[in-house]
Amino acid sequence: MEKEMNTAAGKLVVNSFRLGLKDGVPIGLGYLSVSFTFGMMAVAAGLPVWAAVLVSMLNVTSAGQFAGLPLLAASGSCIEMALTQFIINMRYALMSLSLSQKLHRSVNLLDRILIAFCNTDEIFAVASSKKGEVGKRYLYGLILMPYFGWAFGTLIGAAASSLLPAIVQSALGIAIYGMFLAIIIPPAKHFRPVLKVVLFSVLLSCIFRFTPGLREISGGFVIIICAVSAAGLGAFCFPVHREREVG
């Protein structure tokens, strides 16, 4: 049972800063290892340590930051960057939409604008799992540990990476892709439609990569074309009936 529930206007409201802080600790610890990897990748891609930390503190999103890394390091086209981030982070729109139904009416526009900055998959998942509505104190508490875990993990990952010898740094080039596989393979193993969507997306990406003419299209746009086609077809052929955990 929730200890910190109060009743206001007949509805349950979770609004304890301390409870939020406590719920945020496991998320923050989980973030350490992912952001540590991001810090290492960022330095391997050529960013200085401070830039890696800045990217983490301003974005607070794993997939988007990893995807944006090559474009940041190469100072690539900002239209490509905008589209890549838009596509890969589109799911947050749904989460924010869903979270907006869950907020107590005392959470005003300014609070919503601040909370949105840290609405990650995990924070959304924990906030949604609470019974009744959630208040701003709980949310600010919940956000604190994950945010600093994310920034601190990036810092130590980036700092550790700068001390590594060149041959190890070059082997780190594959790490980001290894991580992507670790994200997509477990759900693909348990839920067949995810596997089909991934394989179709990969097939399209191979066609673009190896076909003369198509090969010249920039990588960021290819990813968008592949992902939108595969996810669109997946949504048409295998509609998901209940909200699954998106990771």
């Binding site: 749904l94 949105a116 082997a171 594959i174 290894g178 670790a182 969507v197 991934v198 997306s201």
Partner: protein, 109 residues
Amino acid sequence: MKTGFWLNLAVMAGVTYLIRMVPLAVFKRKLENEWIQSFLYYIPYAVLGAMTFPEILFSTDSVWSAAAGFLVAIVLSYLEKGLLTVALSACGAVLAVECTIQYLIPALS
């Protein structure tokens, strides 16, 4: 850092933030459309799939070391090991193959 970096960082953070902020600040109604829900569910996997393959094969100094890393990453991901474990093991496999190519094979021949 070059101005390109700052511009890209601003665009990156701005787009990511707006996607999160606008629905939270504006919408009160729940999305019911099943296709949109399913599309948003599949998007991360489709994006990561297209980003990973075939690019993973060209992410190191040779296709062979990359293929070894790819194989290790697939097996460990299938066994549901953590992100850092999978990523670093793939690096380890790459390093092992690179060392073999660079030092062991020339030494033997």
